[in-house]
């Protein structure tokens, strides 16, 4: 349809321009040529921005990953040295494990909470806007600010979480100070911060499911449980897929919470890939090494996304 409209528009232009061109008899750009030139002019600011601030740095980062460069001395070509170092870097192994732990902890929790609440809210007739606002609110808040609030809440003795647990006779761990609990504490905070986004996405999806399907199922005697598993969930799978892919991508890039709440500690228990990129690049000034880690991150995200695209045929149901 779009193509048809395009031809139509060009046709209108041509009939108007043709007599003019004959009168002036100057070699001019054809109308299509003019349009093309105009298009590039319109694209120019955006294209320039992308090239300067995205494409060039991306290529440069790949190049840098093959160099030894500690900023004070001139860069030296090092071949695959940075990548070889990564293989034996025990901190990098921790960082990789932590990031995967964070992702696999956060994504299922986020999805269960957001999907559950979306389905639940969808059955409510009144107050939807208010509930949705309350659950969505953390999403738009400044991550650094809420990370600090949670750090205060996790504070041993004085923090509300420890106080509440003591009040019911359950002395908790020191949370952010405990190597076993620190990452879990960050995951809990991140679920709180992020689930509202997917919830709103699912709510939009749910409202697109025709009521008649449910009515037909109810006439056939399907109970609420069956209706969820046989109708709601299958029809929602395209949105669940989108949510999984994007939540996984953003989880692999976790930085703010880890930097603010624990700065990667204790004993690197919450150090993440991006935090490690930051430390290498901007605290130890190992520009080449930081770039190599960044490209490993990119590769991991790319492969994960690709794998999910491949697997989607098995569970995602498009109408």
């Amino acid at each position: 349809m779009a193509d048809g409209l395009l031809k139509h528009e060009a046709g209108v232009g041509r009939t108007l321009a043709a007599p003019l061109a004959r009168v002036t008899r100057r070699p001019r750009l054809s109308l299509a040529g003019q349009e093309e030139l105009l298009a590039y002019l319109f694209l120019l600011p955006s294209l320039l921005g992308f090239i300067i601030f995205l494409v060039v740095p991306m290529v440069a980062s790949l190049g840098l990953s093959f160099y030894d460069w500690e900023l004070l001395s001139p860069p030296q070509f090092a071949g695959l040295k940075n990548f070889n170092t990564l293989l034996t870097d025990s901190v990098f192994k921790d960082v990789l494990v932590n990031t995967v732990y964070y992702t696999f902890g956060l994504v299922p929790l986020n999805l269960v909470v957001s999907l559950g609440l979306a389905v639940w809210l969808n059955t409510q007739l009144r107050g939807l806007t208010w509930f949705r606002a309350a659950f969505f609110l953390p999403v738009i808040t400044v991550t650094v600010a809420v990370s600090l609030i949670w750090r205060w809440m996790y504070e041993p003795r004085a923090g509300i979480i420890d106080t509440a647990l003591r009040a019911i006779g359950l002395p908790g761990p020191t949370w952010l100070g405990d190597t076993h609990w620190a990452m879990a504490a960050i995951i809990i905070m991140s679920v709180w911060k992020g689930f509202g986004y997917n919830m709103v996405l699912f709510l939009a999806g749910l409202q697109g499911i025709p009521v008649s399907i449910y009515e037909a199922a109810m006439i056939d005697g399907a109970n609420a449980w069956q209706r969820f598993w046989r109708i709601t969930l299958p029809l929602l799978t395209p949105m669940v897929f989108l949510a999984v892919v994007l939540t996984v991508i953003s989880s692999f890039q976790v930085f703010d919470q880890a930097y603010v709440m624990t700065n990667g500690g204790p004993a690197n228990a919450t150090n993440t890939i991006v935090l490690y990129i930051f430390q290498n690049g901007f605290q130890y000034f190992r520009m080449g090494y930081a770039s190599a880690i960044a490209w490993v991150l990119f590769a991991v995200i790319f492969l994960f996304t690709l794998a999910q695209m491949r697997l989607q045929g098995r569970w995602v149901q498009y109408e």
Partner: protein, 272 residues
């Protein structure tokens, strides 16, 4: 039937859950108003409202300056992103040129590139042109994002061509058509994009952390982290500062919730 029986119970539980979700904000406010000697007390409520904490937060660090910087970055970045995206989206939606579809796919592909892949060379670039610690470095790199081009292109394509054809025949330039016909018709999409972009800029942390070094150029997010550590953490001042940081986004959200919801339903990734 059973629905009527359970409805009040369901409301009650949902209300409790929603309230639980807001607890961190309540804690923030309560702590922000506590006098110094009550911060570590078990008592929930402050004995008096220590309004002076807010004034102290502003003098403890150049907090007003952080606020100003963040405002400049968020407003400037949003304006630039909207203008560049509008122009590009119009080209993708309405104009014909070679390689259009391939280029659009490339734009979309950039959404998959994690920002962290570019930060090291980007920082070196900024250092080489002397932009470290300037608004240029804070604003420009974040202003080009494929989300705007994608969202606006999708919206422009839903606008009937007939509306602009008569203007075109009357001799209006494409730029005028964009400014006087397309943009006014796209207000909801532009509002959504502006909100997403503003929030992203307001929340941005890693890049400002890297590219600013002097206190005068810090943004709120970076400035907040300075409250911890230096003299031990002064939680009441920090919570007062956090309150000021969160306030603009909360106000924005109160007035524009429907744009967020519409934007998420439309793209599935905007504002993530």
């Amino acid at each position: 039937m059973s629905r009527h029986f359970f409805a009040p119970f369901s409301y009650l539980v949902l209300t409790l859950l929603a309230a639980a979700c807001l607890v961190p904000f309540v804690i923030m406010l309560l702590t922000a108003f506590k006098p110094d000697n009550e911060v570590f007390n078990r008592a929930w409520l402050p004995s008096r409202l220590a309004w002076e904490n807010f004034a102290r937060a502003f003098t403890f660090f150049p907090f007003a300056r952080f606020l100003f910087n963040t405002m400049v970055v968020a407003v400037g970045g949003t304006a630039l992103h909207l203008i560049a995206s509008c122009l590009a989206a119009y080209a993708f939606a309405r104009l014909r040129f070679r390689g259009r579809d391939a280029l659009f796919l490339l734009y979309l592909g950039t959404l998959m590139v994690p920002q962290q892949v570019t930060i090291v060379p980007l920082f070196l670039m900024m250092r080489d042109v002397g932009w470290v610690d300037t608004f240029w470095a804070l604003i420009l790199p974040g202003a080009f994002h494929a989300l705007g081009v994608f969202l606006l292109r999708q919206f422009f394509m839903t606008i009937p061509r007939e509306l602009e054809e008569s203007a075109f025949i009357d001799g209006a330039s494409r730029l005028r058509i964009l400014g006087q016909i397309i943009v006014p018709l796209s207000k909801p999409a532009l509002a959504t994009l502006a909100l997403f972009t503003f929030i992203r800029e307001w929340n941005s942390f890693l890049w400002p952390l890297i590219v600013t070094t002097s206190p005068e150029m810090r943004t709120l997010s970076v400035g907040l982290t300075l409250f911890t550590g230096q003299y031990g953490t002064e939680w009441n001042l920090l919570m007062a500062a956090a309150t000021v940081t969160l306030l603009p986004t909360l106000v924005l959200f109160a007035f524009a919730q429907r744009y967020f919801v519409a934007g998420i339903a439309l793209t599935g990734f905007g504002g993530r």
